[in-house]
Symmetry: C2
Amino acid sequence: MSEVHAVRRTRLRDRGAAAGSAASLVSRPANVRYLAGGAPPGAVLLVGPEEDVLLSPFPLTGDPAHGRTDERLRVAVLSAGGGDAVVAAADFAAKAGADSLAVEEHHLTVARHRAMASVAPRLRLADLGTAVEQQRVVKDEEEIACLRIAAEIADQALGELLESILVGRTERHLALELERRLVDHGADGPAFATSVATGPHSGRGGHRPTDRRVEEGDFLSVCLGANYRGYRCEIGRTFVIGTTPADWQIELYDLVFAAQRAGREALVPGAACRDVDRAARQVLEAAGHGEALAPLTGHGVGLEIQEDPQIAPGAMGKLDACVPVTVEPGVHLPGRGGVRIDDTLVVRQEADGGPELLTITTKELLAL
Amino acid sequence: MSEVHAVRRTRLRDRGAAAGSAASLVSRPANVRYLAGGAPPGAVLLVGPEEDVLLSPFPLTGDPAHGRTDERLRVAVLSAGGGDAVVAAADFAAKAGADSLAVEEHHLTVARHRAMASVAPRLRLADLGTAVEQQRVVKDEEEIACLRIAAEIADQALGELLESILVGRTERHLALELERRLVDHGADGPAFATSVATGPHSGRGGHRPTDRRVEEGDFLSVCLGANYRGYRCEIGRTFVIGTTPADWQIELYDLVFAAQRAGREALVPGAACRDVDRAARQVLEAAGHGEALAPLTGHGVGLEIQEDPQIAPGAMGKLDACVPVTVEPGVHLPGRGGVRIDDTLVVRQEADGGPELLTITTKELLAL
């Protein structure tokens, strides 16, 4: 594993050198973890021409999420009360003779940036931009293996829930139950706050569970994901509670299913992200649901549950092979409810069998 | 309720006017919630001389955490894809004729700050600093009532856990069980990630639950809290598992208990925060545990689980009445475990009965 992180840092170092900054300071936690193999709270990573230093306010523990480092990485623990790690890093870089330092301006606050400038006035602070985020877009097979396990765990948790009695239970309790099952099956935790939406709430993206209870005839939308070794997947399904779905429910379900399938089928290396969005969105627009649609049809997943690329109308860029993304269109009818279907897939060459579906729970309309 | 938020904004407006900025932009979510009564994700609050505007990327829902606003507050929903709310706010302030705008430099990123300057080049961006955080330190009785309920919920969840069989269960499962019980008793969720630490892990602040199982003879440290209407409390207790505690366990427990009591008794209006820290810390130092102590003995709680004031050796400032704080000293002996005792209390005048203990679970050493 540790080799992997050293190679990632070398790529960043080469890019920094090309952009004119000898040293880079990585402060966004997911980026620190990507490059160092672990990120204790508040730790930052200085990638320099000579050596790489993880500056941490805390000693590293045996916890693999914190302590995994490699031979080429030095760990410097800040003294107690030693203050902000980015300020210590600026001081360190200046003393090591760096004349410029590229920082993550989209993550650093104005106040911390000022404090860096004040402790190292001769150090020119440049912008690293989203260089690390861009490096994170295409995953290696080890990362994809973690996502695959995360998806399996989510499938298992969801599958068990479907076998239990649902009517009468609240959204909040179902969400907690799902999160417990994720951990039971080996997740480090939920990938994000589990969403359970019943009846009129169903189909709403990011719905926060309430005390509403599941009733006969409801749509039930569930969206959950597991965090496995830092990698986060996402699955969303919609079910009908009770005997037979109503006609409007079947119709709406078939529509969202068709949109989601169109999105999935558009996932090929080289496809423009906006075209994938368009493939799914136009199915729903043609049926008159254009106005209320969410701004995104999907997004990348990895060390964060929402990362690049965006699958959206205004998205620039194209898909590459080995990029895991969600496809998650939904329709919500105010007062009635709706449908949301969400998969995590990995973009693959057609010769390799096309998009790899990680979340394999059935997408038939189940009546529970 | 809504009057309260309008009054809070008036205080901020008066302060801004005194500091030379007619308009202030509040972006930190807990600050937005404090001043507007609700904070949809990504929403920011513009407090201007003429009117106050909550700029939100999403329409407000019926959810009280999102939707509660008052008559003097206008809500402006950004158009889909309308971008960052702080940038929209800068544009809005400039068009409304403001010449300067105070922003939260400790929260805004460098990139967002630049984007504001670029959309409104004639608007002078000043620093609001932690003005809103300072306003939040002293709580009103309605806020304290929420904290009191949050503490009751945490006490109930903890009490129920103590009645169940513990040996053989993992830290992770006990933590999830506690979180489920918090919600059962009416919490909106846990106030922070519940910590359960067994055996050699016990007594470590902020320990993240692992798969280690509770064993006979273990110390068991638990730290949890409820979020009730946005207000967050904290309680931590340490127990012994099995029949009779060992001598070293009784000794260590009595020591930490004495330190925690000394800290609690030092909570009087007008006391320097560092003196409260000192009262607890010197008990542990005198027993030879000085080096491994956590940097903080306690901290304020409210809309965030860690807010001002800090109870720490280097803390400036004094306590006021109606400031809720934690007192949470602990000792961890590497390889053996330790003890941590944590209460949430409200500073009160002695005439009013002295510090009000919100978390009332017993602090006797229970053998479970």
